[in-house]
């Protein structure tokens, strides 16, 4: 249904844009082990994105009546047609900022996929069942690094705190509800239902890291409605440039 497709687009775009951001680190990470680790996470996110987008694409038609593909969605939509949250669009910054973003998104995705395994939509349930295991690792990776950076050196602690501050304004948007969820019922997971577990995990981790949960005003958000931060346009210009230079080509 179009509602299911819209929901799959949202989840798929989160993964795609995050993978695009993380892919930058491959060949630039602080140590080779992190080139590998961040590469793995990027690959996992891209994998989830491909599953969700392929599922969504089947609901959309090309001009000739055939079904769209994941690539039609990834390369040929305009900025306002993307449905990701603004969190995943935010710049990588330094390693601490990337880790802060990873912490928030992976804790969120873990809770989300955990529940989405029970979706009344079997395709979404299957994608989530596979994804949740991988995201469990992403969450662990981010958590370990938050501890290392927060409790490592004065410099790393300062950076970790800054990274969290830069990330926090984009957190609330993850839990915004809209009427799509009323229509989807048991097929989807209401974002608000994830809040309690999310907060519990984050508070416990930050407590262990001897950090305070930042209290900062939220950014207005709106990614799910196609209202994006100023960063997304640049990201898409780069991601889509080659595909768009060769309309109709296959690769």
């Amino acid at each position: 249904s179009p509602d299911i497709a819209e929901y799959a687009l949202r989840l798929g775009d989160d993964g795609l844009i995050l993978a695009q951001r993380l892919g930058w680190w491959i060949s630039r990470a602080p140590e080779l082990e992190e080139d590998v680790a961040l590469g793995n996470i990027a690959l996992d996110q891209l994998g989830h994105a491909r599953s969700f987008l392929s599922y969504a694409a089947a609901a959309f038609q090309r001009a000739d009546g055939s079904a769209q593909t994941e690539d039609d969605l990834a390369y040929w939509r305009g900025e306002e047609e993307f449905r990701c949250v603004q969190l995943v669009e935010q710049p990588n910054g330094d390693f601490a900022r990337t880790i802060a973003r990873q912490l928030v998104i992976s804790v969120y995705q873990f809770e989300l996929y955990q529940r989405l395994q029970n979706s009344s939509d079997p395709t979404l349930a299957a994608i989530a069942a596979k994804a949740v295991k991988e995201v469990d690792y992403h969450r662990d990776h981010a958590s370990q690094w938050v501890l290392r950076l927060a409790l490592g050196t004065a410099e790393s602690r300062r950076r970790m705190i800054d990274g969290l501050k830069l990330t926090w304004p984009y957190l609330e948007e993850l839990f915004d509800q809209d009427e799509l969820f009323d229509r989807l019922g048991d097929a989807a997971v209401e974002p608000s239902s994830l809040r309690e577990n999310f907060d519990a995990f984050i508070s416990a981790l930050l407590a262990e890291a001897e950090l305070e949960v930042p209290e900062l005003p939220r950014a207005s958000g709106g990614g799910r409605r196609g209202e994006h931060s100023e960063h997304l346009g640049y990201l898409l210009a780069e991601m889509q440039v080659l595909a768009r230079q060769h309309p109709g080509a296959s690769w």
């Binding site: 795609l16 993978a19 695009q20 892919g23 930058w24 491959i26 060949s27 630039r28 990470a29 602080p30 140590e31 080779l32 082990e33 992190e34 080139d35 590998v36 590469g39 793995n40 990027a42 690959l43 891209l46 994998g47 994105a49 491909r50 987008l53 994941e70 690539d71 990834a74 390369y75 330094d94 390693f95 501890l147 290392r148 950076l149 409790l151 490592g152 050196t153 410099e155 790393s156 950076r159 780069e238 991601m239 440039v241 080659l242 595909a243 060769h246 109709g248 080509a249 296959s250 690769w251």
Partner: protein, 309 residues
């Protein structure tokens, strides 16, 4: 028996030297140099391909490319570990690299100007690397030989992916086919030069062969490689930019046109398109990451203390 005699006995029966075995200093030095150069090449070699991760033209290709570049980081890790068994730590090797004191394969100083270059690197550069490396799986130094087994498996996977990229392009639009041909034209000669200078200009080869590190001469490997490419390029529907390639019935070997060793030496001397860029990028990543590595070390120490207490 021990010492040199034992070492020579192991070589004589074409068996493996292991880290705790006695070995001549020159053997150790040669290996450290060769293994670390190889490791550095994997690491620097990530850059030209990483250049297209963000712009890969389909999600499938993006995933394959990410995985490939990530594999190269893994190869670097195996190889640095092998070098460490010879007593030289990774930190030292990394410092030499970013100080510009260590070598890496000159081929990575060429730029990847188009998506097709990703295909050409996979097909030609990884192809040449495999020809070089398959014999190294039998290298006399155990940790090196075993690392090469693992690496070769993944490399042949990469080569097939590169071939597929070029095949898809050559069967695509005229612009795509042109892109593919252009990339093959640019990468062909540098790939051939990856086997090193002609045999009569390769002074160290003989000792390496005596030590069972090297198994075939540069020219032998190069000819074998040309023979393979000649067949594969037909399947691609492309051409190699060398009209002098022919099979010499008498010697049973493939001949190719002469190579511009002058250019090779220019790039080796630092005057390639990207020498400065590649080193700078590695240096920057290393320096930008220093505070992270320090934090991880400090945290590990702290955890140790907690465990002890």
């Amino acid at each position: 028996i021990a010492g040199l005699a034992a070492f020579e006995a192991i070589l004589a029966e074409d068996s493996r030297i292991e880290p705790r075995d006695w070995m001549p200093e020159a053997y150790r030095k040669t290996l450290v140099r060769q293994i670390s150069q190889h490791a550095h090449s994997e690491i620097i070699g990530m850059q030209p391909e990483a250049n297209w991760i963000s712009r890969a033209p389909s999600l499938k290709r993006k995933a394959i490319l990410m995985a490939k570049v990530q594999d190269e980081a893994g190869h670097g890790l195996y190889l640095y570990s092998a070098a460490e068994t010879l007593g030289t730590p990774r930190t030292k090797l990394t410092e030499d690299l970013i100080a510009g004191k260590a070598r890496y394969s000159s081929i990575f100083n060429y730029p990847t100007r188009s998506w097709a270059d990703v295909g050409a690197i996979g097909w030609l550069v990884d192809g040449a690397a495999i020809c070089n490396q398959v014999p190294l799986c039998r290298a006399s130094y155990g940790p090196y030989g075993r690392a090469m087994v693992r690496i070769c498996k993944e490399e042949s996977f990469h080569q097939r992916q590169g071939f597929e990229i070029l095949l898809e392009l050559s069967q695509g639009t005229p612009a795509q086919k042109q892109m593919a041909q252009d990339a093959v034209n640019r990468w062909y000669a540098p790939a051939l030069m990856m086997f090193g200078p002609p045999d009569d200009d390769s002074p160290n080869s003989k000792q390496s062969m005596a030590w069972n590190i090297k198994r075939f001469s540069n020219d032998e490997l190069r000819q074998r490689f040309v023979g393979m490419m000649v067949e594969q390029v037909k399947v691609l529907g492309l051409t190699l930019p060398d009209d002098q390639i022919r099979f010499d019935e008498e010697t049973g070997k493939w001949q190719h046109g002469s190579l511009d060793w002058n250019e090779f030496k220019e790039v080796l001397a630092g005057r390639g398109a990207c020498n400065s860029q590649r080193l700078e990028r590695r240096r920057e990543a290393h320096q930008d990451g220093a505070w992270v590595r320090e934090a991880a070390a400090a945290y590990a120490l702290r955890e140790q203390r907690v465990e002890v207490a």
